[in-house]
């Protein structure tokens, strides 16, 4: 490890410490939700390490519980993860100095919090080794906080009676993600379209209604953005 990697690592750790604290309630809830879905502790921690993504885990849990077809689960996970394509595109330049293995690790560890906190300095610092340390150290730290808090949630869930409906915590967690997004008008339109259509089309075979609702929601958000731009230009 070069001195500049270490310097970057220290700085990245320092700026991301608050973000990592914010992960704790999330990870606890994700752990509780997986056990409430009927997973054993081993299955729950297996999912946590294989997927390492709260949105994909919480989003697919209700589908796994109702025994939805594998392709719907796969498609849903892909759709909620599409944002990572954009994050990954933004990080490609700053992390280009890493080896192939390091870059796969960077990809696996990519989280919203570290991305949002670190992107600016990652784009402006000229030293590739410093940038790699500045990204990898807080990402590894967040993964450690995440997995240990998830494990705490998984173990705690066993002590809680089923009648408490703790699986509803997963729905609350998804709502907590949605609320800040809803502050932007086109995003709110995408949400309302997706949510309402998903209820209205619940009768479609193979649960195709969910897919149709998602695609329509994306289109509605995109269209609203265009209409807003046109109105502003006038």
């Amino acid at each position: 490890m070069s001195p500049s990697f270490k310097a970057g690592a220290r700085e990245g750790f320092r700026v991301c410490l608050p973000v990592s604290v914010g992960l704790v309630p999330w990870a606890l809830v994700t752990g509780l939700a997986m056990v409430s879905a009927g997973f054993t502790p081993v299955q729950a921690m297996g999912m946590s390490f294989i997927v390492f993504g709260a949105t994909a885990q919480l989003g697919t849990l209700p589908l796994i519980v109702i025994g939805a077809p594998w392709w719907l689960i796969l498609a849903t996970a892909l759709v909620v993860n599409l944002r990572f394509l954009i994050f990954s595109a933004a990080l490609a330049g700053p992390l280009a100095g890493g080896t192939l293995l390091q870059r796969w690790l960077c990809g696996y560890l990519l989280t919203d919090g570290v991305f949002a906190t670190c992107l600016e300095r990652l784009r402006s610092d000229a030293d590739p080794a410093w940038r790699l340390g500045y990204y990898l150290a807080p990402s590894l730290w967040c993964a450690l906080v995440w997995q240990s808090s998830t494990l705490t949630g998984v173990l705690a869930a066993g002590a809680i009676p089923r009648g408490w409906s703790l699986e509803f915590m997963a729905s609350i967690a998804l709502l907590v993600l949605l609320v800040p997004m809803a502050r932007v008008r086109p995003m709110l339109v995408a949400m309302l379209t997706g949510g309402v259509l998903s209820v209205l089309l619940r009768g479609l075979p193979l649960r195709l209604g969910v897919m149709v609702a998602i695609v329509a929601g994306i289109a509605a958000g995109f269209a609203t953005e265009h209409l807003q731009k046109k109105a502003e230009a006038r």
Binding site: G38, V79, S88, G107, F168, L174, S198
Partner: protein, 103 residues
């Protein structure tokens, strides 16, 4: 509820659907890039997908919409808690309290 070994296959599918978008451009490097219009449209994907999953969860009772069910009350309490406070625990406390209170 019990799951068979196919649950692990499901985890691997979800894992790939998470790892591949995350690693895509970081691993490919600058050899590839994403068109501007695609980037814009993709921003709406998580919002549309999460809403499509959570709204039926909160609104439907035994497959039919019910606007007076405890889950909807709990969801409203959670949304209010996120909007009015920065405390990360409050939405969960408020939501579960209302859920238990209304039942």
């Amino acid at each position: 509820m019990n799951y068979d070994a196919s649950l692990w296959l499901t985890f691997i599918l979800i894992g790939l659907a998470t790892l591949l978008p995350r690693s895509s451009f970081i691993v490919l490097g600058q050899r590839a890039s994403l068109p501007e219009a695609v980037q814009k449209a993709l921003r709406y994907a998580p919002a549309a997908a999460l809403a499509a999953i959570v709204v039926p969860d909160v609104v439907l009772v035994n497959g039919a919409p019910d606007v007076f069910n405890p889950k909807l009350g709990a969801a409203i309490a959670a949304v209010l808690a996120v909007s009015l406070s920065r405390n990360p625990w409050l939405p969960f406390i408020a939501g579960m309290a209302v859920l238990w209170g209304l039942r």
